[in-house]
Assembly symmetry: C2
DNA sequence: TTGGAAAGTCAACAAGGCTGACATAAAACG
DNA sequence: CGTTTTATGTCAGCCTTGTTGACTTTCCAA
Protein backbone atom coordinates (compact mmCIF):
# COMPACT_ATOMS: atom_id res chain seq x y z
CA UNK A 1 0.00 0.00 0.00
CA UNK A 2 2.60 2.61 -0.86
CA UNK A 3 1.12 5.99 -0.12
CA UNK A 4 4.02 8.26 -0.88
CA UNK A 5 4.18 10.63 -3.80
CA UNK A 6 7.92 10.11 -3.77
CA UNK A 7 9.03 7.24 -6.01
CA UNK A 8 9.95 4.55 -3.58
CA UNK A 9 11.16 1.51 -5.42
CA UNK A 10 11.52 2.17 -9.12
CA UNK A 11 8.30 0.24 -9.57
CA UNK A 12 6.33 3.33 -8.68
CA UNK A 13 6.49 5.78 -11.53
CA UNK A 14 3.03 7.06 -10.75
CA UNK A 15 1.27 7.83 -7.52
CA UNK A 16 -0.71 4.60 -7.52
CA UNK A 17 -2.08 3.31 -4.26
CA UNK A 18 -4.27 0.24 -4.17
CA UNK A 19 -7.05 2.55 -3.10
CA UNK A 20 -6.64 4.75 -6.15
CA UNK A 21 -6.67 1.73 -8.41
CA UNK A 22 -9.78 0.43 -6.72
CA UNK A 23 -11.48 3.75 -7.30
CA UNK A 24 -10.56 3.51 -10.96
CA UNK A 25 -12.07 0.03 -11.08
CA UNK A 26 -15.29 1.21 -9.48
CA UNK A 27 -15.41 4.23 -11.77
CA UNK A 28 -15.30 1.91 -14.78
CA UNK A 29 -18.05 -0.23 -13.28
CA UNK A 30 -20.42 2.65 -12.66
CA UNK A 31 -19.57 4.48 -15.87
CA UNK A 32 -20.25 1.40 -17.96
CA UNK A 33 -23.73 1.25 -16.52
CA UNK A 34 -24.33 4.83 -17.59
CA UNK A 35 -22.82 4.07 -20.96
CA UNK A 36 -25.36 1.35 -21.72
CA UNK A 37 -28.38 2.85 -19.97
CA UNK A 38 -29.76 4.99 -22.80
CA UNK A 39 -29.56 2.42 -25.61
CA UNK A 40 -30.92 -0.23 -23.25
CA UNK A 41 -34.11 1.78 -22.81
CA UNK A 42 -34.61 2.14 -26.56
CA UNK A 43 -33.85 -1.52 -27.18
CA UNK A 44 -36.18 -2.76 -24.48
CA UNK A 45 -39.08 -0.91 -26.05
CA UNK A 46 -38.45 -2.77 -29.31
CA UNK A 47 -37.86 -6.14 -27.72
CA UNK A 48 -34.15 -6.26 -28.40
CA UNK A 49 -31.12 -6.53 -26.14
CA UNK A 50 -27.51 -5.45 -26.03
CA UNK A 51 -26.52 -8.29 -28.30
CA UNK A 52 -28.70 -6.82 -31.05
CA UNK A 53 -27.21 -3.39 -30.43
CA UNK A 54 -23.67 -4.65 -30.81
CA UNK A 55 -24.48 -6.43 -34.07
CA UNK A 56 -26.25 -3.37 -35.48
CA UNK A 57 -23.42 -1.08 -34.43
CA UNK A 58 -20.69 -3.01 -36.15
CA UNK A 59 -22.70 -3.81 -39.27
CA UNK A 60 -23.30 -0.10 -39.63
CA UNK A 61 -19.65 0.58 -38.97
CA UNK A 62 -18.47 -1.86 -41.63
CA UNK A 63 -21.30 -2.45 -44.11
CA UNK A 64 -20.87 -5.62 -46.10
CA UNK A 65 -18.90 -7.31 -43.36
CA UNK A 66 -19.09 -11.08 -43.26
CA UNK A 67 -20.53 -13.17 -40.46
CA UNK A 68 -17.09 -14.49 -39.61
CA UNK A 69 -15.74 -10.97 -39.41
CA UNK A 70 -18.47 -9.90 -37.04
CA UNK A 71 -17.84 -12.97 -34.92
CA UNK A 72 -14.23 -11.95 -34.42
CA UNK A 73 -15.12 -8.40 -33.45
CA UNK A 74 -17.90 -9.35 -31.06
CA UNK A 75 -16.04 -12.26 -29.52
CA UNK A 76 -19.02 -14.60 -29.33
CA UNK A 77 -19.83 -17.95 -30.88
CA UNK A 78 -21.57 -18.22 -34.22
CA UNK A 79 -24.54 -19.91 -32.57
CA UNK A 80 -24.95 -16.97 -30.28
CA UNK A 81 -24.57 -14.38 -33.01
CA UNK A 82 -26.77 -16.33 -35.37
CA UNK A 83 -29.71 -16.23 -33.01
CA UNK A 84 -29.49 -12.45 -32.85
CA UNK A 85 -28.84 -12.04 -36.56
CA UNK A 86 -31.77 -14.25 -37.49
CA UNK A 87 -34.24 -12.07 -35.62
CA UNK A 88 -32.74 -8.91 -37.11
CA UNK A 89 -33.06 -10.32 -40.61
CA UNK A 90 -36.60 -11.59 -39.99
CA UNK A 91 -37.57 -8.17 -38.66
CA UNK A 92 -36.14 -6.47 -41.74
CA UNK A 93 -33.37 -4.54 -40.00
CA UNK A 94 -30.47 -6.41 -41.56
CA UNK A 95 -29.99 -7.78 -45.05
CA UNK A 96 -27.75 -10.78 -45.72
CA UNK A 97 -26.36 -10.99 -49.27
CA UNK A 98 -24.52 -13.97 -50.68
CA UNK A 99 -20.97 -13.05 -51.65
CA UNK A 100 -20.27 -12.51 -55.34
CA UNK A 101 -16.69 -13.67 -55.33
CA UNK A 102 -16.96 -16.23 -52.52
CA UNK A 103 -20.50 -17.55 -52.46
CA UNK A 104 -20.03 -19.15 -49.04
CA UNK A 105 -19.84 -15.77 -47.41
CA UNK A 106 -22.81 -13.70 -46.31
CA UNK A 107 -22.33 -9.95 -46.44
CA UNK A 108 -24.36 -8.02 -43.91
CA UNK A 109 -26.01 -4.63 -44.43
CA UNK A 110 -28.46 -2.52 -42.52
CA UNK A 111 -31.77 -1.87 -44.27
CA UNK A 112 -33.22 1.66 -44.05
CA UNK A 113 -35.23 0.41 -41.08
CA UNK A 114 -32.05 -0.93 -39.51
CA UNK A 115 -30.32 2.38 -40.12
CA UNK A 116 -33.15 4.15 -38.34
CA UNK A 117 -32.68 2.07 -35.22
CA UNK A 118 -28.92 2.40 -35.42
CA UNK A 119 -29.27 6.17 -35.56
CA UNK A 120 -31.61 6.25 -32.60
CA UNK A 121 -29.22 4.12 -30.56
CA UNK A 122 -26.06 5.94 -31.49
CA UNK A 123 -27.65 9.37 -31.11
CA UNK A 124 -28.53 8.48 -27.54
CA UNK A 125 -25.11 7.10 -26.78
CA UNK A 126 -23.28 9.94 -28.47
CA UNK A 127 -25.33 12.48 -26.57
CA UNK A 128 -24.08 11.03 -23.32
CA UNK A 129 -20.50 10.82 -24.54
CA UNK A 130 -20.67 14.37 -25.81
CA UNK A 131 -21.98 15.63 -22.49
CA UNK A 132 -19.28 13.76 -20.60
CA UNK A 133 -16.57 15.04 -22.94
CA UNK A 134 -17.80 18.61 -22.59
CA UNK A 135 -17.97 18.38 -18.83
CA UNK A 136 -14.47 16.97 -18.59
CA UNK A 137 -12.74 19.09 -21.22
CA UNK A 138 -10.37 18.34 -24.12
CA UNK A 139 -7.34 17.37 -22.09
CA UNK A 140 -9.38 14.91 -20.06
CA UNK A 141 -10.77 13.37 -23.24
CA UNK A 142 -7.32 12.69 -24.61
CA UNK A 143 -6.32 11.04 -21.34
CA UNK A 144 -9.52 9.04 -21.25
CA UNK A 145 -8.83 7.58 -24.66
CA UNK A 146 -5.22 6.80 -23.81
CA UNK A 147 -6.11 4.86 -20.68
CA UNK A 148 -8.92 2.96 -22.41
CA UNK A 149 -6.57 1.90 -25.18
CA UNK A 150 -4.03 0.75 -22.65
CA UNK A 151 -6.67 -1.31 -20.86
CA UNK A 152 -7.53 -3.38 -23.92
CA UNK A 153 -6.04 -6.76 -24.67
CA UNK A 154 -3.55 -6.47 -27.53
CA UNK A 155 -5.84 -8.32 -29.89
CA UNK A 156 -8.79 -6.13 -29.01
CA UNK A 157 -6.63 -3.05 -29.40
CA UNK A 158 -5.62 -3.94 -32.92
CA UNK A 159 -9.26 -4.60 -33.83
CA UNK A 160 -10.15 -1.25 -32.37
CA UNK A 161 -7.38 0.52 -34.23
CA UNK A 162 -8.21 -1.07 -37.53
CA UNK A 163 -11.80 0.09 -37.14
CA UNK A 164 -10.48 3.60 -36.60
CA UNK A 165 -8.52 3.50 -39.83
CA UNK A 166 -11.53 2.49 -41.82
CA UNK A 167 -13.85 4.88 -40.07
CA UNK A 168 -12.66 8.41 -40.72
CA UNK A 169 -10.72 11.22 -39.14
CA UNK A 170 -9.06 10.93 -35.74
CA UNK B 1 -22.21 16.74 -38.20
CA UNK B 2 -20.03 19.71 -37.52
CA UNK B 3 -16.47 18.91 -38.35
CA UNK B 4 -14.83 22.28 -37.81
CA UNK B 5 -12.50 23.12 -35.00
CA UNK B 6 -13.99 26.59 -35.10
CA UNK B 7 -16.95 26.93 -32.74
CA UNK B 8 -19.91 27.10 -35.01
CA UNK B 9 -23.02 27.42 -32.93
CA UNK B 10 -22.14 27.91 -29.29
CA UNK B 11 -23.04 24.27 -28.78
CA UNK B 12 -19.58 23.17 -29.85
CA UNK B 13 -17.11 23.94 -27.14
CA UNK B 14 -14.97 20.96 -28.03
CA UNK B 15 -13.84 19.50 -31.30
CA UNK B 16 -16.38 16.69 -31.27
CA UNK B 17 -17.27 15.03 -34.53
CA UNK B 18 -19.68 12.12 -34.60
CA UNK B 19 -16.74 10.02 -35.68
CA UNK B 20 -14.71 10.97 -32.63
CA UNK B 21 -17.62 10.20 -30.36
CA UNK B 22 -18.09 6.85 -32.04
CA UNK B 23 -14.45 6.03 -31.47
CA UNK B 24 -14.93 6.88 -27.82
CA UNK B 25 -17.90 4.53 -27.67
CA UNK B 26 -15.95 1.72 -29.28
CA UNK B 27 -13.01 2.36 -26.99
CA UNK B 28 -15.27 1.88 -23.98
CA UNK B 29 -16.66 -1.32 -25.47
CA UNK B 30 -13.27 -2.90 -26.09
CA UNK B 31 -11.71 -1.60 -22.90
CA UNK B 32 -14.51 -3.04 -20.79
CA UNK B 33 -13.79 -6.44 -22.25
CA UNK B 34 -10.18 -6.12 -21.19
CA UNK B 35 -11.25 -4.83 -17.82
CA UNK B 36 -13.26 -7.97 -17.06
CA UNK B 37 -11.05 -10.52 -18.81
CA UNK B 38 -8.62 -11.30 -15.97
CA UNK B 39 -11.17 -11.75 -13.18
CA UNK B 40 -13.38 -13.74 -15.56
CA UNK B 41 -10.64 -16.32 -15.99
CA UNK B 42 -10.18 -16.72 -12.26
CA UNK B 43 -13.91 -16.90 -11.65
CA UNK B 44 -14.51 -19.44 -14.37
CA UNK B 45 -12.00 -21.80 -12.82
CA UNK B 46 -13.99 -21.66 -9.56
CA UNK B 47 -17.39 -21.91 -11.18
CA UNK B 48 -18.42 -18.35 -10.48
CA UNK B 49 -19.44 -15.46 -12.72
CA UNK B 50 -19.27 -11.71 -12.78
CA UNK B 51 -22.25 -11.41 -10.51
CA UNK B 52 -20.31 -13.21 -7.79
CA UNK B 53 -17.36 -10.93 -8.37
CA UNK B 54 -19.45 -7.81 -7.96
CA UNK B 55 -21.00 -9.07 -4.74
CA UNK B 56 -17.63 -10.05 -3.31
CA UNK B 57 -16.10 -6.74 -4.29
CA UNK B 58 -18.69 -4.59 -2.58
CA UNK B 59 -19.00 -6.78 0.50
CA UNK B 60 -15.26 -6.44 0.93
CA UNK B 61 -15.53 -2.73 0.34
CA UNK B 62 -18.22 -2.26 2.97
CA UNK B 63 -18.17 -5.18 5.42
CA UNK B 64 -21.39 -5.59 7.35
CA UNK B 65 -23.46 -4.07 4.58
CA UNK B 66 -27.06 -5.26 4.36
CA UNK B 67 -28.59 -7.07 1.44
CA UNK B 68 -30.72 -4.04 0.66
CA UNK B 69 -27.68 -1.83 0.62
CA UNK B 70 -25.89 -4.12 -1.78
CA UNK B 71 -28.98 -4.19 -3.97
CA UNK B 72 -28.88 -0.45 -4.40
CA UNK B 73 -25.21 -0.45 -5.36
CA UNK B 74 -25.43 -3.35 -7.77
CA UNK B 75 -28.66 -2.24 -9.37
CA UNK B 76 -30.24 -5.69 -9.62
CA UNK B 77 -33.29 -7.26 -8.05
CA UNK B 78 -33.04 -8.84 -4.64
CA UNK B 79 -34.00 -12.19 -6.12
CA UNK B 80 -31.11 -12.01 -8.53
CA UNK B 81 -28.64 -11.04 -5.86
CA UNK B 82 -30.01 -13.63 -3.49
CA UNK B 83 -29.18 -16.51 -5.77
CA UNK B 84 -25.58 -15.39 -6.04
CA UNK B 85 -25.36 -14.70 -2.34
CA UNK B 86 -26.76 -18.10 -1.48
CA UNK B 87 -24.05 -19.95 -3.37
CA UNK B 88 -21.36 -17.74 -1.83
CA UNK B 89 -22.71 -18.47 1.64
CA UNK B 90 -23.04 -22.20 0.95
CA UNK B 91 -19.47 -22.26 -0.34
CA UNK B 92 -18.23 -20.52 2.78
CA UNK B 93 -17.03 -17.32 1.13
CA UNK B 94 -19.59 -15.02 2.68
CA UNK B 95 -21.13 -14.96 6.12
CA UNK B 96 -24.62 -13.58 6.70
CA UNK B 97 -25.38 -12.40 10.23
CA UNK B 98 -28.85 -11.52 11.39
CA UNK B 99 -29.03 -7.87 12.50
CA UNK B 100 -28.97 -7.27 16.23
CA UNK B 101 -31.11 -4.17 16.22
CA UNK B 102 -33.31 -5.05 13.24
CA UNK B 103 -33.64 -8.78 12.90
CA UNK B 104 -35.01 -8.50 9.37
CA UNK B 105 -31.64 -7.37 8.12
CA UNK B 106 -28.74 -9.61 7.15
CA UNK B 107 -25.28 -8.18 7.51
CA UNK B 108 -22.75 -9.54 5.04
CA UNK B 109 -19.08 -10.28 5.64
CA UNK B 110 -16.36 -12.09 3.74
CA UNK B 111 -14.91 -15.15 5.44
CA UNK B 112 -11.13 -15.65 5.26
CA UNK B 113 -11.78 -17.88 2.26
CA UNK B 114 -13.87 -15.12 0.69
CA UNK B 115 -11.11 -12.62 1.35
CA UNK B 116 -8.66 -14.89 -0.42
CA UNK B 117 -10.76 -14.94 -3.56
CA UNK B 118 -11.38 -11.20 -3.34
CA UNK B 119 -7.67 -10.60 -3.17
CA UNK B 120 -6.96 -12.82 -6.16
CA UNK B 121 -9.61 -11.04 -8.20
CA UNK B 122 -8.66 -7.53 -7.25
CA UNK B 123 -4.95 -8.21 -7.63
CA UNK B 124 -5.57 -9.27 -11.20
CA UNK B 125 -7.77 -6.32 -11.98
CA UNK B 126 -5.49 -3.83 -10.28
CA UNK B 127 -2.51 -5.17 -12.19
CA UNK B 128 -4.22 -4.34 -15.44
CA UNK B 129 -5.32 -0.92 -14.24
CA UNK B 130 -1.85 -0.19 -12.97
CA UNK B 131 -0.30 -1.15 -16.29
CA UNK B 132 -2.78 1.00 -18.18
CA UNK B 133 -2.22 3.94 -15.85
CA UNK B 134 1.53 3.65 -16.20
CA UNK B 135 1.35 3.41 -19.97
CA UNK B 136 -0.89 6.45 -20.22
CA UNK B 137 0.71 8.67 -17.60
CA UNK B 138 -0.58 10.77 -14.70
CA UNK B 139 -2.30 13.47 -16.73
CA UNK B 140 -4.16 10.87 -18.76
CA UNK B 141 -5.29 9.14 -15.57
CA UNK B 142 -6.81 12.33 -14.23
CA UNK B 143 -8.67 12.87 -17.48
CA UNK B 144 -9.80 9.27 -17.56
CA UNK B 145 -11.38 9.59 -14.15
CA UNK B 146 -13.04 12.88 -15.01
CA UNK B 147 -14.70 11.53 -18.12
CA UNK B 148 -15.83 8.34 -16.37
CA UNK B 149 -17.46 10.34 -13.61
CA UNK B 150 -19.20 12.51 -16.14
CA UNK B 151 -20.53 9.44 -17.92
CA UNK B 152 -22.31 8.09 -14.87
CA UNK B 153 -25.97 8.69 -14.12
CA UNK B 154 -26.30 11.18 -11.27
CA UNK B 155 -27.53 8.50 -8.89
CA UNK B 156 -24.65 6.19 -9.77
CA UNK B 157 -22.23 9.06 -9.39
CA UNK B 158 -23.34 9.81 -5.87
CA UNK B 159 -23.07 6.14 -4.95
CA UNK B 160 -19.60 6.11 -6.41
CA UNK B 161 -18.57 9.25 -4.57
CA UNK B 162 -19.92 8.03 -1.26
CA UNK B 163 -17.89 4.85 -1.64
CA UNK B 164 -14.82 7.03 -2.17
CA UNK B 165 -15.41 8.88 1.07
CA UNK B 166 -15.62 5.68 3.04
CA UNK B 167 -12.69 4.09 1.30
CA UNK B 168 -9.60 6.16 1.85
CA UNK B 169 -7.44 8.78 0.21
CA UNK B 170 -8.24 10.20 -3.21
C1' DT C 1 -53.56 -6.22 18.29
C1' DT C 2 -53.81 -5.64 13.83
C1' DG C 3 -52.39 -3.96 9.34
C1' DG C 4 -48.90 -2.15 6.42
C1' DA C 5 -44.14 -1.82 5.16
C1' DA C 6 -39.61 -3.68 4.84
C1' DA C 7 -36.18 -7.51 4.33
C1' DG C 8 -35.39 -11.65 2.58
C1' DT C 9 -36.51 -16.33 0.25
C1' DC C 10 -38.48 -19.61 -3.21
C1' DA C 11 -40.30 -20.62 -7.92
C1' DA C 12 -40.52 -19.96 -12.59
C1' DC C 13 -39.36 -17.65 -16.86
C1' DA C 14 -36.34 -15.14 -20.54
C1' DA C 15 -32.10 -13.38 -22.71
C1' DG C 16 -27.99 -14.49 -24.24
C1' DG C 17 -23.74 -16.62 -23.37
C1' DC C 18 -21.72 -21.59 -24.11
C1' DT C 19 -20.63 -26.58 -26.20
C1' DG C 20 -21.47 -30.39 -29.33
C1' DA C 21 -23.18 -32.47 -33.41
C1' DC C 22 -24.47 -32.10 -37.92
C1' DA C 23 -25.83 -30.17 -42.86
C1' DT C 24 -24.77 -27.65 -46.91
C1' DA C 25 -22.33 -25.22 -50.21
C1' DA C 26 -18.30 -23.51 -52.10
C1' DA C 27 -13.49 -23.15 -52.40
C1' DA C 28 -8.95 -25.06 -52.38
C1' DC C 29 -5.90 -28.66 -52.99
C1' DG C 30 -3.72 -32.66 -54.90
C1' DC D 1 -12.10 -35.40 -60.32
C1' DG D 2 -12.18 -36.52 -55.42
C1' DT D 3 -11.05 -34.97 -50.86
C1' DT D 4 -10.49 -31.69 -47.47
C1' DT D 5 -11.12 -27.29 -45.63
C1' DT D 6 -13.79 -23.15 -44.92
C1' DA D 7 -18.02 -20.36 -44.14
C1' DT D 8 -22.29 -20.53 -42.63
C1' DG D 9 -26.50 -22.15 -40.56
C1' DT D 10 -29.28 -25.10 -37.44
C1' DC D 11 -30.87 -28.09 -33.59
C1' DA D 12 -30.51 -29.47 -28.90
C1' DG D 13 -29.27 -28.59 -24.42
C1' DC D 14 -26.82 -26.35 -20.61
C1' DC D 15 -25.45 -22.24 -17.51
C1' DT D 16 -25.47 -17.56 -15.64
C1' DT D 17 -27.94 -13.82 -14.47
C1' DG D 18 -31.42 -10.87 -15.27
C1' DT D 19 -36.76 -10.55 -14.51
C1' DT D 20 -41.74 -10.92 -11.95
C1' DG D 21 -44.90 -13.01 -8.65
C1' DA D 22 -45.96 -15.07 -4.36
C1' DC D 23 -44.67 -15.88 0.21
C1' DT D 24 -42.62 -15.53 5.22
C1' DT D 25 -40.69 -13.10 8.92
C1' DT D 26 -40.00 -9.04 11.32
C1' DC D 27 -40.82 -4.41 12.67
C1' DC D 28 -43.45 -0.45 13.61
C1' DA D 29 -47.30 2.53 14.05
C1' DA D 30 -52.21 3.30 14.55
Amino acid sequence: MDKGGAPGGGETLLFLTDEQLRQGIEAVFFAYRGFTADPDRILEAKGYGRAHHRAIHFINRAPGTTVNNLLAILGVTKQSLNRVLRTLIEDGLVESRIGRVDKRERHLFLTPKGEDLERALSDAQRARMRAAYRAAGPAAVAGFRQVLEAMMDPEQRSQYLSLREGGGNG
